[in-house]
Symmetry: C2
């Protein structure tokens, strides 16, 4: 098992990456004293498929638990669903010392983390990510979020988990499309911070698509290590460093929003957003022609889109103006000067942005 | 004008106490650069009565503003109202750098602070308290909260304002009942931290009930200074010190809850809760008979209740088990060993608690 530590001024926490880690959750809860009752927020599929393993781990330690299933859609990140989960939590938490378990992908992690942050002004929670994307990225760093109709992630908090427990074996049932989603984010980590990781994905994409455990472990570990380091240096995105994690996400989020979060997945949108950010980087002269070609080639091999269909330029621009990173009327982009060399650029000429977005749209 | 500073590890902020402070809000917003548009959360009465003064201050600085009125009841502290305010905020904040103004009493402060803490993971807000209770206490310290049906303040965050601007002149229109509410909390500050303050209230209660500005200013300043000091030492109530602010509140909140937040006000409930906490202190031998008599006498003079009617012992006990301070199955009370000498006691014998609650109920 690999262990990483997210070092924060207070409340540092560990990330445990291994095969079969669900079994250690009960003993961990006892050892850490985080609670005597697990309130497990998850989706029906995960409960059905992996619930028995978790229950066994809790039962062996005589720990109580309560399941709380939410629908397996982005729409679970709403104030409405959050309210209903909090009501259920309040009923359970009255006589128990509850630890919330976020047992799912990014949606469950964002929802459960937000609830943990606001219930009684903060109760402990553990991230148990079940998708490649969540294991690589969203389970780490304490950004919690709910969506409004107006835009995604408009409500949220910075609230760190007490522990991240990553069980790689859960990925064996993951649909291929979600492996690709995770690879899109992994490529981002390579591009902003780690040439070696980018090359590894280039050389081993077939193993990764085949869900080879050792290849997955290497990529998860490396991405988690990069994210831990960045979050440790800039927990609340006040120093600029954490901003580089948004590479590909400014336009990516807008593409997702313009598709109404239905046809284009997060990973696909981030791939498109990265292509657009690279187009801007090239247009502004930060990089030459070789890097875009290399990235496009990798996207093709993996099966990540180079062009979006069914979304309009105007819808994407309207959505990107809603983006959190959009402070006042100024825009701000994470661009590249090369692999592992991100740069934050403000006030990019709107016509350059438009042109870049046009470059990722099917004509 | 008096100025106090709440000294925190990061984001220290000032409390400005004076007559006619509404007029300086516009210049302050410009000077601090907190935003170019004020999103003012308030209740209809305050908007009608004091809105023009605030608008004048903003207009003189060419600052934009948006009014957002919520009902003048505790029920505004709900996820439902919060959602509707956030939607309005999102529409306004798209093209503007918004600073939220909490312009009202405790309900408005709690709601606005919570919204500021979760909108885009935190936007700046300024507390402009309009009640004696809010000026003394709730506008300072960054505890934000919403209620659930199950219990008050079950949802919330620690999120500090950027500034507290207290205008004593607003209290001239405050109903007498609300002056009494504030005095109840002020007596608490005297009891937990400041013999001189307690004596001042004993000697000047008539001036205070008559809303004498200088007397009000002295009490507000002293309470705000005590709270600033305590919050500065224990921002998130992790070190025990902040807990003493809950003196009278454990049973007080339960009495409020048992009355369904309708017949018994917060100040009245806190007075009753303090009487109960003092009864426990005496029963456990921490104090002798003289202090309870002195406090009861002051409550009588001010017109704060010594006994509650229309609430049952069982309802109060059921509600107090819901209290936030109730970790697991253990109870925890702030008691007194004398004026200015609080002590935190765990696992008070439940029969002693019952007896103390019985002592504040009309037979």
């Amino acid at each position: 098992m690999n262990k990483l530590i997210v070092r924060l001024k207070r409340d540092s926490y560990s990330i445990l990456i291994g095969n079969g880690n669900l079994a250690i959750l009960g003993p961990l809860l006892v050892k850490t004293g985080l609670g005597n009752h697990a309130f497990i927020i998850t989706i029906p599929f995960i409960k059905r498929k992996y619930g028995p393993r978790l229950e066994k781990s809790f039962n062996q330690q005589s720990l109580g638990f309560t399941w709380c299933c939410v629908p397996d859609t982005e729409s679970s990140k709403s104030l409405k669903i959050a309210s209903s989960v909090i009501k259920k939590l309040a009923a359970v938490a009255l006589k128990r010392q509850v630890c919330i378990i976020a047992f799912g992908g990014g949606v469950v992690g964002d929802l459960a983390g937000f609830i943990a942050s606001v219930y009684r002004r903060g109760v402990p929670y553990i991230q148990v990510p079940t998708t490649f994307l969540a294991q690589i990225d969203s389970s780490i760093g304490g950004k919690t979020a709910l969506d409004l109709e107006e835009a995604k992630n408009l409500i949220g908090s910075f609230y760190q988990p007490k522990l991240v427990v990553t069980d790689i074996s859960l990925l064996q049932t993951l649909p291929l499309a979600q492996v690709k989603n995770g690879l899109s984010e992994a490529i981002k980590y390579g591009l902003i911070r780690d040439k070696g990781l980018f090359s590894y994905i280039e050389n081993n994409y077939r193993l990764l698509l085949n869900k080879n455990k050792e290849a997955l472990r290497r990529v998860i570990y490396r991405c988690a290590a990069i994210k831990s380091e960045i979050v440790g240096s800039d927990e609340k995105e006040t120093k600029g460093l954490r901003t580089i994690l948004n590479f590909g996400h400014t336009i990516g989020h807008a593409v997702e929003a313009a598709s109404r979060y239905s046809r284009i997945s997060h990973g696909q949108a981030v791939a498109l957003g990265m292509s657009a950010a690279i187009a801007i980087s090239r247009e502004l002269g930060y990089i030459d022609d070789s890097l875009p070609g290399r990235i496009t080639s990798l996207f093709k091999k993996i099966g990540l889109p180079q062009k979006a269909s069914g979304v309009s330029l105007d819808a994407i621009i309207a959505a990107y103006r809603h983006d959190k990173k959009f402070a006042g009327l100024e825009n701000k982009f994470v661009l590249l000067k090369g692999i592992g060399k991100p740069i934050i650029v403000r006030n990019v000429n709107p016509s350059v942005v438009r042109q870049a977005i046009r470059s990722i749209l099917k004509p």
